[in-house]
C-alpha cells in the first residue's frame, strides 16, 4: 500500500508538468492564473498523500485544508484584479462580434 501511495504521488507530480507548460507558454496572463489554480489543487492532494506516507495524516490534513483555502482566495483575488473594464460593454461587444462572423 505504501508503494501504491508513492506511485500515486509521482503520477500527480508528473501531471503537473503539462500544466507547467501552460504556465510558461500560456498566451495571456489569465491562462497562467487558471493553470496555477489547477496546480494548487493538485498540490493539496499531494500534501495528503505525503501525510499518508509519513503516517501523520492528522497533521498534514490541516496543511491541506489551509492550502485549499489560500488557493481559493488567491484565485478570487486574481480574478478581482481583472475586474476593471466595464463588464456590460465587453459582453455586448463580444456578442455582436459573434453574430457578425
Amino acid at each position: 500500500m505504501e508503494n501504491f501511495f508513492t506511485l500515486t504521488g509521482v503520477a500527480i507530480f508528473a501531471l503537473m508538468l503539462p500544466i507547467l507548460y501552460r504556465i510558461i507558454v500560456g498566451p495571456t496572463a489569465i491562462d497562467r492564473i487558471v493553470a496555477v489554480n489547477m496546480i494548487g489543487t493538485k498540490t493539496m492532494v499531494l500534501l495528503i498523500i505525503i501525510g499518508m506516507l509519513f503516517k501523520r495524516v492528522d497533521m498534514f490534513v490541516d496543511f491541506a485544508l489551509t492550502y485549499a483555502l489560500l488557493n481559493f482566495i488567491g484565485s478570487l483575488a486574481a480574478a478581482r484584479f481583472f475586474d476593471r473594464v466595464n463588464p456590460e460593454k465587453q459582453i455586448a461587444k463580444l456578442e455582436t462580434k459573434e453574430q457578425e462572423s
Binding site: 500515486t8 501531471l15 481559493f72 463580444l94
Partner: protein, 113 residues
C-alpha cells in the same frame, strides 16, 4: 482488505480524470474551453482521490481516524463548493478582460489566440 481495494479503484479513477484535465488544458483551443477542462476535471478527481484516502483511513477504526476522515470530508465539500465559484470568477475576469471567443467558423484564426 476490501477497504484497500475500494481505495485503489477510487484513486486510480481520480488519476484518470486528472489526466483528462491536464491533456484538455494543453489541447483545447481558447481560454473558455480550457476553463471547462480546468473547472470540471478537478472537482470529480479530487472528490474520488480524497474519498479513497478517507476510506483507507477508516481501515483500523478509532476516534482519531474518524476525526481525520471527517476533516478530509470537509476538504472535499469545500472543494466541490469552491470549484464552481472560482470558475465563475475567473471566466468573468476573462470576459471583462476581452478574451476572444474561438469559434469553428473562422478557420484562418490562430487557434492558440
Amino acid at each position: 482488505m476490501i477497504n484497500e481495494i475500494i481505495c485503489i479503484v477510487m484513486v486510480l479513477s481520480g488519476l484518470l480524470f486528472f489526466v483528462g484535465g491536464a491533456i484538455g488544458i494543453i489541447r483545447f483551443p481558447d481560454f473558455y474551453t480550457r476553463m471547462h477542462a480546468a473547472g470540471k476535471g478537478d472537482t470529480m478527481s479530487v472528490f474520488l482521490i480524497l474519498m479513497g484516502m478517507a476510506i483507507y483511513q477508516l481501515n483500523d477504526f478509532s476516534l482519531a481516524n474518524l476525526l481525520v476522515a471527517g476533516k478530509i470530508f470537509f476538504i472535499t465539500i469545500f472543494i466541490m463548493w469552491a470549484g464552481p465559484t472560482s470558475t465563475h470568477a475567473l471566466i468573468k475576469a476573462g470576459i471583462d478582460e476581452g478574451q476572444k471567443v474561438w469559434t469553428r467558423k473562422d478557420e484562418k484564426g490562430d487557434p492558440e489566440a
